[in-house]
């Protein structure tokens, strides 16, 4: 029965499903690399973005200008070029090649991708958080002031917790964009999900199988992430729902990426 099924697939399926099944463990490994890369970048970038967002929301021009320049540069240019700049570009400088960081970190594709992705997502997340910090309702801040909370305490106890929640829908988009962006890793020799697809196609001279398998797995991951965020939003944004429902009519405020 099993053999007959395999023969049927080999004869009739437009894709070489048997070959995909044989190499499926590689695809799972690639998916794991993609997820790891995305997740670590999001953690590092997210952590970096919090102080950057606070600076951008504040009014100190000496701090604001360099952070603005950083976010403008990273948001205005392609991730591919940023990654190339770090991976291929840094080796141009003699003094970088002589530092202790060169061998174990800066000459490794994995770390270069991680650095580029982290900085990229930090820039996007910082601007997104800034928007959400700035739009904190004035009444909440006034109430905190009336209670005698210091600036730092206001930020920590009142503004940030509410800003994080309100940033959640937009952040879910950023997470998916980062996952999509992580395919850039395959262009600098990393065997991520797309890297495995390219490897399979290159090895067996195929045109569809590797890419289609990778595409399906990416789609699956995206669906799971957006489901996860929807659940999270229903949990953390419940107190905002009546307003959000009104807002969503004008297409503002809610995540544009819903599938």
């Amino acid at each position: 029965m099993g053999e007959a099924f395999v023969q049927f697939l080999q004869a009739w399926s437009p894709l070489d499903i048997v070959l995909i099944a044989e190499n499926f463990d590689r695809f799972l490994l690639g998916a794991w690399v993609t997820l790891k890369l995305t997740f670590i970048s999001l953690v590092i970038g997210g952590t970096l973005s919090i102080p950057l967002a606070i600076i951008r929301a504040g009014s100190n021009p000496f701090l604001n200008a360099p952070v603005w320049a950083f976010t403008y540069l990273f948001r205005g240019t392609p991730l591919l070029v940023q990654t190339y700049l770090i991976y291929y570009g840094l080796g141009q400088f003699e003094w970088i090649r002589e530092t202790a960081l060169w061998g174990p970190v800066l000459s490794q594709a994995w770390y270069c991708a991680l650095i580029a992705f982290s900085l990229n997502t930090a820039a996007y997340t910082a601007e997104l958080l800034r928007g959400s910090i700035v739009t904190t309702s004035n009444g909440e801040i006034e109430a905190a002031k009336a209670c005698g909370l210091s600036r730092a305490k206001r930020m920590r106890r009142i503004i940030l917790p509410s800003a994080f929640r309100r940033a959640l829908p937009a952040y879910s988009n950023e997470v998916i964009f980062m996952l999509h962006g992580s395919v850039v890793a395959s262009t600098i020799t990393i065997q991520d999900l797309l890297g495995v697809g390219r490897w399979l196609n290159g090895r067996y001279y195929l045109a569809y199988e590797g890419f289609i398998t990778a595409a399906v797995l990416y789609l699956l991951i995206v669906l799971l992430i957006s489901r996860g965020f929807r659940f999270w939003e229903s949990k953390w944004l419940r107190h905002l729902y009546p307003q959000e429902a009104v807002k969503s009519k004008s297409g503002k405020g809610l995540a544009s990426f819903r599938i």
């Binding site: 403008y72 540069l73 205005g76 240019t77 392609p78 991730l79 591919l80 070029v81 940023q82 190339y84 700049l85 291929y88 570009g89 840094l90 080796g91 141009q92 400088f93 996952l179 999509h180 962006g181 992580s182 395919v183 850039v184 395959s186 262009t187 797309l194 697809g197 390219r198 196609n201 045109a207 569809y208 890419f211 289609i212 990778a214 595409a215 990416y218 789609l219 995206v222 669906l223 009519k249 004008s250 297409g251 503002k252 544009s256 990426f257 599938i259």
Partner: protein, 232 residues
């Protein structure tokens, strides 16, 4: 800096390819976006389902995966179809066509959502008023929906366009001689990759800054006479 000047021809021709790629794919994206929004809002269940499937796949799969699939797979598919039907001989899909087509169709998915939201934002009563005045559907679209849709869609459209310009960089992976590819080749042959990649970065920054400025002007034009309650 001297090297950049020496290689400015390559960088400029690459930039021109990137600009063409971005603009042509934008045209396709707008067409697909309008069709998609129309399908999503229509009463036809099949059109609705098809549009939902389209936006899900196109926004769920990374653009580079689709570019590679279209460039390598599309070629084979078109030729197999040609052999099967006997209608055409060997066809070659160039990197440029694959890039324009894929990026256009992918961002058509994002445009669909933007346009759909913009059409939904138009108060229903205005469309009913148009019907009551005896306008036909085309007139309603032209006189009532379109002018307001543009205004509502502009923020989302701007955002999509800025993402799209940056997405064009990915076509260099299949060997299209755009600004990234040319910059990379020049950088490798002179062993000055940082310099050249930084120059490419600046070119993209310039392109996005110009677009940003232009779209702001457009936004101001279409928002004339409208009071903004906040800075959005």
């Amino acid at each position: 800096m001297n090297l950049i000047i020496e290689y400015q021809g390559q960088l400029l021709s690459g930039t021109w390819v990137t600009v063409q790629l971005a603009i042509l794919s934008l045209v396709i994206a707008v067409i697909f976006g309008l069709l998609g929004a129309w399908a999503k809002l229509s009463k036809n269940l099949l059109a609705k389902k098809a549009a939902a499937g389209y936006t899900t796949v196109v926004r769920g799969v990374p653009d580079l995966v689709l570019i590679l699939l279209v460039f390598y797979g599309g070629q084979q598919f078109v030729n197999q179809l040609g052999t099967l039907t006997g209608l055409w001989d060997y066809v070659e899909i160039s990197q440029f066509v694959a890039g324009v087509g894929t990026i256009g169709v992918v961002f058509g998915g994002y445009m669909t959502e933007t346009f759909r939201g913009a059409i939904l934002a138009i108060p229903r009563g205005q469309i009913e008023a148009g019907i009551a005045c005896g306008m036909n559907r085309l007139t309603i679209f032209r006189r009532i929906i379109w002018p307001q849709m543009v205004r509502y869609a502009l923020p989302g459209f701007s955002n999509n366009w800025l993402v799209q310009i940056k997405a064009t960089a990915l076509v260099s992976v299949v060997g299209l001689q755009d600004v990234v590819y040319n910059g990379f080749v020049a950088g490798r042959s002179t062993r000055q990759l940082f310099t050249f990649m930084f120059a490419v970065l600046m070119i993209y920054l310039l392109l996005t800054a110009i677009s940003d400025f232009g779209l702001r002007q457009l936004d101001r034009k279409y928002s004339k006479g409208i009071t903004r309650s906040d800075d959005g």
